[in-house]
Amino acid sequence: MTLNIIHSGGFTIVQVDGHLNTLNAADFETQVMGLVERGDMKLIIDCSKLSYISSSGLRVFLLAQKKLRANKGLLKLCCLQPSIHEIFDMSGFTQIFLIETTLEASLTS
């Protein structure tokens, strides 16, 4: 898994590339939570290159969203691959997260 962090128009875009699994979830958590702690309020996680996500990974998403909401911040997910979207659907996470189909959409709304 590699992360690519871009700041654009007040948003912090985190591009996740590869597998997000139990092994690297802690590393992912440190980096994403680092962004939240330092005060980035509008976070977009770009999942266009995310090929797999485990429950540990989902937990980090949840953790980030929880923290951002508490700080009146915002977390958006975008560009979920169909297989990932299916997981989100099945586990009900589509009801929890704000999910956009494109990065542009997430930046404008």
Binding site: S56, L58, R59, L62, L63, M90, G92, Q95
Partner: protein, 656 residues
């Protein structure tokens, strides 16, 4: 590796020595062979030249004696033809010849039959020596028909002078003789006719003496052969006049000898080799003599000819062997001195292998590769020591963690029911469940129990993450489920309370996907709620397997007061139910291919009439086949229920 092997058979010195010796010996053999062949050729060439010279000398001496003798009968025959002498004075002529030529034993003038009718058939004046006297006589009688003798007949018929084959003359003291005969013509009343033969008899003792004087090396010799190849002189007296070069060719089974004889008869000279009967090799030079119809041969015994070469070879061989032994010692000594530190280093390496990282390495004074090796070993020794120390600490820590994980797994497994069949008294339900923990324990769980007499509650869930936190969360979930189900009966009610309990103060955002079902075993009515879990499969007694229709609620522990929608389904007799965690659908093989939901449906369809135990075992087998030995990375949990409503009323399970 074994020390003894290093030092003994396969030692460096042994290997170097064998190679060095191989090359050295090959070189020596090559050199010696070339030297041998070259020198042998030189010696043979020298012998050949020597033989030619020697034979030339002897031949010259013999010719010097024989050639003048040929003139005598030629002269006599000329004078007779000219009619210079009266037939009765011929005897005086012969006596004169003998007087003047001490080497001539006898002389005759043998007339052809009836040349002088008054003398009869035979007329042959003959003078010969007897002791110191010269005796004259007339030969020829019925007992001695001289014109049938070779010495007469051959020159007479061939009309050419003829040296007879040598012979032993019994009258002449059994001396070896040869006769030179010259045919002459005579004028009679009938005109010029062949008158007869003038002869001299030559005692060949002087020839034997000349030839016998010759010695070549130890046993080499010269000998004279007649026109027919007969031995005229020979150091072995039994050969003389008995054996010819051709009969010896037969006796010794040596065809070369016959070839030599025939070549000799052609008047050729040559230096060649042949073998005696016992395969003793001889070199021979042969050349015809200019007179007497004789040939001369000089014989060089091969072993004597090459004796000096063989002696030299022996000396060289001895030197080589001595040199090789010296080389042997030197190589072994040098290699052993060089290899000594290697052996010591090897010994130290063994000590290090046994765990003694402080074993001292030998000092190496030389500045060669062995010193490099020694330094590398010192470095390795230090690195190894540090590494092992580090490893010991890490291993201890790891062992602690592993033991904790093992405990967590034990807790996880001890929390769930695992005696089957769980309700032998309830024939309506056949149930089997299985939880296979991964090495790194996950948070899977299942549970089932009776809420009351008819309400059978069961659940399956998967906690996010792995390890001890997941295990603990799973334990909490399971404990909460039991206590809540005591008070609330509806699945959605239970689920809501459970979610609220777990979501409260869930700072770490742990969650659990959860499926909960309550089956009324009297009616077959199943009520169920799903909190983000993989949809279970319904296996109807008649028809295709399918995922349970449901709407997904969010996993438990994320959002308080979430309302989970409840669904219901009526179980018919023989219907089965199969629930699982993502450990099943996401079981990976080495190519990272997932087992997948379709595979689950396929296996279930294939085994739809099997008992839950068999069903789960079949699924296990299918998963094992898919992963084919690849490590299990997540907990695998399966739960299957068969509903046999009819059994309660005594009806058979497989109702059509």
């Amino acid at each position: 590796m074994n020390f003894k092997n290093i030092i003994n058979t396969e030692s460096l010195s042994f290997r170097i020595l064998t190679r060095v010796l191989l090359i050295t010996v090959s070189l020596f053999v090559l050199t010696l062979s070339i030297y041998y062949i070259y020198t042998r050729n030189l010696i043979r060439e020298a012998a050949r030249e020597n033989a030619i010279q020697l034979a030339g000398n002897i031949a010259g001496k013999i010719a010097q004696q024989l050639q003048p003798m040929e003139k005598l009968p030629q002269m006599v025959s000329a004078t007779i033809e000219m009619g210079l002498f009266d037939k009765d004075s011929l005897i005086v002529v012969l006596e004169t010849i003998l007087k003047r030529n001490p080497n001539i034993y006898g002389a005759s003038i043998a007339f052809a039959p009836n040349i002088f009718p008054e003398k009869g058939l035979y007329f042959m004046p003959y003078a010969y020596r007897n002791n110191n006297e010269i005796i004259s006589t007339f030969l020829g009688s019925a007992d001695y028909e001289y014109f049938l003798m070779d010495w007469f007949q051959i020159p007479f018929m061939t009309k050419k002078p003829y040296w007879s084959e040598p012979y032993f003359d019994e009258g002449g003291g059994n001396a070896l003789m040869t006769t030179y005969s010259v045919p002459f013509y005579y004028h009679t009343e009938q005109g010029r006719v062949q008158g007869g033969i003038a002869t001299i008899d030559v005692d060949l003792q002087w020839l034997t003496d000349i030839v016998s004087e010759v010695t070549i090396f130890e046993t080499g010799y010269a000998f004279v052969l007649s026109r027919n190849g007969m031995a005229i002189t020979h150091p072995d007296r039994s050969m003389i006049m008995n054996e010819s070069i051709f009969s010896n060719s037969e006796n010794w089974e040596e065809p070369l000898l016959r070839e030599i004889g025939r070549d000799l008869q052609q008047g050729n000279s040559s230096f060649s080799e042949y073998n005696l009967k016992n395969k003793v090799k001889r070199w021979i030079y042969y050349t015809p003599l200019d007179a007497g119809g004789l040939s001369l041969a000089v014989v060089y015994p091969d072993d004597e000819m090459f004796a000096s070469l063989h002696k030299m070879n022996l000396i060289l061989l001895a030197l080589i062997i001595f040199g090789l032994i010296l080389l042997n010692f030197t190589v072994v000594k040098i290699v052993n001195r060089l290899a000594r530190p290697l052996v010591d280093i090897a010994k130290t390496a063994h000590k290090i292998a046994e765990g003694n990282f402080n074993a001292p390495l030998p000092e190496v004074k030389s500045r060669d590769e062995i010193r490099l090796l020694r330094n590398a070993f010192v470095n390795m020794q230090q690195e190894l020591g540090a590494y092992v120390a580090n490893l010991t600490a890490t291993t201890a820590a790891k062992e602690k963690i592993e033991s904790e994980l093992r405990i967590a797994r034990d807790i996880q497994l001890s929390m769930i029911p695992h005696s089957f069949p769980p309700f032998p008294e309830l024939p309506q339900i056949d149930l089997f469940a299985e939880l296979k923990s991964a090495k790194e324990v996950g948070g899977d769980l299942y549970d089932f129990f009776l809420i009351d007499k008819h309400q059978f509650c069961f659940a399956i869930g998967d906690v996010s993450g792995k390890g001890v936190p997941a295990s603990l969360f799973m334990a909490v979930t399971r404990t909460l489920l039991r206590s809540i189900a005591d008070k609330v009966k509806s699945p959605s009610g239970i689920m809501k309370l459970l979610n609220n309990s777990l979501a409260m103060n869930n700072e770490s955002c742990m969650f659990v996907t959860f499926f909960l079902g309550v089956l009324d075993i009297s009616t077959g009515e199943l009520s169920y709620v799903n909190a983000g879990h993989n949809p279970p499969v319904i296996i109807p007694g008649d028809g295709a397997v399918k995922f349970l229709p449901l709407a997904n609620g969010i996993p438990l522990g994320l959002q308080e007061n979430y309302e989970y929608p409840q669904f219901s389904l009526s179980f018919k007799d023989g219907d089965k139910f199969f629930a699982y965690t993502d450990g099943v659908s996401e079981a990976e093989n080495s190519q990272h291919q997932l087992f997948g939901e379709q595979a689950i449906l396929d296996v279930l369809m294939q085994h739809k009439s099997d008992h839950p135990i068999a069903l789960i075992k079949a699924m296990d087998a299918a998963i094992s086949q898919h992963v084919s030995g690849f490590d299990q990375s997540d907990d695998i949990t399966m739960l299957s229920i068969a509903f046999n409503h009819g059994s309660a009323n005594g009806t058979p399970r497989n109702k059509p």
